[in-house]
């Protein structure tokens, strides 16, 4: 696709996204909000993946941010809007501390530990009954913006903008070279002066704090949090599936995957209630088996072979 065309498309998508509340009803707005949140999570998961590290801990940092936000309001008297950046800072700080411990791990070991951490966060919050409300959770006095559907939507859109902005920065700065070098060959990266641990820490803290931010936005939009709702495994699995479907190691891939899977999930929910997750799972399996590089990777491979045929 040529550059001007993709710019024009992006501008159009942005205009439609921002103006959506002007012409969409409550239900499509709610669906869009949901897709936007998962899209943002998918982008953050991919950002860390660019270093080769597969995290299963999205739900953990998302849930942690959610609780930081609710408890910031209830226990520290923060205004709702302030509790959202607070959630980002809190998840970021936790990631910084645990990053020192777990970023020496690689591959499967890193993945398993992130999965376990998410579970540990949930159990801790579950059991700190007096402070966190325990298994029953906590309820806010009200939803942010008085529950105005348009404003809640824009809030979600702002969360997505943060994720996309960070992802763009990752792609267009030295971060891109650091993470790609680490993913391709750590020994080589070291010999070129890349401080591997430091760059992994940067990627882990940045993505975790955005996941915390999104948790804050989520919980302020619904007005309550329970350990089961905000640490739901779907917050890990759906973003992961979206990024895999669209194509990893880029911003566009997860965005594309989120739109397709998000819409498919909504449609399937209506057609086969309760059965939609099965179909969803089948889609993911097919993608992983037949298009391991995702839709974008597939498109790139097809273009390359077309080029080759033209030359031959």
């Amino acid at each position: 696709m040529n550059r001007n065309l993709s710019r024009a498309l992006a501008a159009l998508a942005l205009a439609v996204a921002v103006a959506l509340p002007a012409f969409a009803g409550a239900y499509p707005l709610q669906v869009a909000r949901n897709i936007i949140m998962y899209m943002a999570l998918a982008v953050t998961w991919d950002m860390l993946l660019r270093s080769g590290q597969i995290s299963f801990g999205i739900a953990g940092l998302f849930g942690l941010g959610a609780y930081a936000s609710v408890l910031g309001v209830l226990r520290a008297g923060m205004p709702g809007w302030l509790s959202i950046p607070f959630a980002a800072v809190f998840s970021g700080l936790v990631a910084l501390l645990i990053g020192f411990l777990i970023l020496r791990l690689r591959a499967m070991y890193f993945s398993i530990v992130t999965l376990a951490l998410a579970e540990i966060f949930r159990i801790v919050i579950h059991n700190l009954h007096d402070f966190t409300g325990g298994p029953e959770g906590v309820v806010l006095q009200g939803v942010i913006f008085g529950g105005d559907a348009g404003k809640l939507y824009w809030l979600a859109l702002a969360g997505l903008a943060v994720a996309l902005g960070a992802s763009w920065w990752f792609e267009n700065s030295r971060v891109h070279y650091a993470l790609t070098a680490i993913r391709n060959n750590e020994t080589s990266a070291k010999s070129s002066g890349v401080n591997i641990f430091r760059w992994l820490l940067v990627a882990f803290v940045v993505t975790s704090s955005i996941q915390g931010l999104l948790g804050g936005i989520y919980v302020q939009s619904y007005g309550f949090a329970t350990p089961e709702s905000v640490f739901d495994a779907n917050f890990t699995l759906l973003p992961l599936a979206m990024a895999l479907l669209g194509g990893v190691h880029s911003t566009v891939g997860p965005v594309l995957g989120a739109v397709l899977l998000g819409l498919a999930a909504e449609w399937l929910k209506l057609k086969i209630p309760y059965g939609h997750l099965v179909v969803y799972g089948v889609i993911i399996i097919i993608v992983i088996l037949f298009m391991p590089q995702g839709l974008l990777g597939q498109a790139r491979a097809m273009r390359r072979s077309a080029d080759k045929r033209r030359k031959a």
């Binding site: 700065s173 070279y177 060959n185 020994t187 080589s188 010999s191 070129s192 002066g193």
Partner: protein, 242 residues
């Protein structure tokens, strides 16, 4: 001026002593051959001085500074660069971007500056068509890219681990000339591991010989190649009759 010096450098893997009590030094502008039979500890030795492996005992000094346990990425910044026997291209980056990495991280250059320097370096080494993926390069181009990547660190000490392996005679000649030229222009201290003795004879000022982890001889190639212990340990019967 002495760039790099080791004292009693030793590396043990469980029971095996891969590098045993090696003391040596490298001078500015010197091309040093590091030779020895397979398993003599040449690559382990380079791993130790470049920080990819940590020694069990001994000391490493770079320009008079103790760097025995300095991490690899810091040594890259100080000015120690290397290539690898098993090539390690960064396959998700283009040829040019591969070379940029050292400039960005070892030298702290911004992306534009790194791109400019990497282009100049590739031009100097005779690499063209720089936006190619590394999977499309010829062996000679890959070897040159590996050297360009190491030079992007702007090093003072450079190790080349079997960089000529897999090249035909013409390509080897080309690369020998290239290495000699870049080393001379930069006053580099170069450590060369090679199995092809012709390359060692032509390229190096001095060689050290490792056998079973121990340094058994040091001196100009002509001299060392006549040393009975070296002939016996390394060159074998064929050389005795030659």
């Amino acid at each position: 001026m002495t760039k790099l010096r080791t004292e009693g450098l030793t590396k043990r893997f469980m029971g095996l002593v891969a590098v045993n009590d090696v003391s040596f030094s490298m001078e500015e502008g010197e091309i040093l051959g590091i030779i020895g039979p397979n398993g003599a500890g040449k690559t382990t030795f380079i791993n130790l001085v470049s920080g990819i492996a940590m020694p069990s005992a001994g000391r490493i000094e770079y320009k008079g500074r103790d760097i025995t346990y300095a991490p690899a990425h810091e040594r890259a910044r100080m000015g120690i660069a290397r290539t690898y026997q098993l090539i390690h291209p960064l396959e998700n980056l283009t040829l040019l971007e591969n070379v940029m990495v050292g400039s960005i991280f070892a030298r702290g250059n911004g992306l534009k500056e790194a791109r400019r320097k990497a282009e100049a370096l590739c031009l100097e080494l005779g690499l063209a068509d720089l936006e190619r993926e590394t999977t499309r390069l010829t062996i000679l181009e890959i070897k040159k890219m590996e050297i360009a990547r190491a030079l992007a660190n702007e090093p003072e000490v450079l190790f080349l681990d079997e960089v000529m392996a897999g090249l035909n005679a013409d390509e080897t000649k080309d690369l020998i000339a290239t290495v000699r030229r870049v080393a001379k222009e930069r006053r580099l201290a170069v450590g060369v591991v090679e199995h092809v003795m012709g390359v060692i004879r032509e390229l190096t000022h001095r060689v050290i010989v490792l056998e079973a982890g121990e340094l058994i001889a040091s001196g100009p190639y002509e001299e060392v190649s006549k040393n009975p212990r070296v002939v016996e340990a390394y060159l074998g019967g064929a050389a005795v009759h030659a």
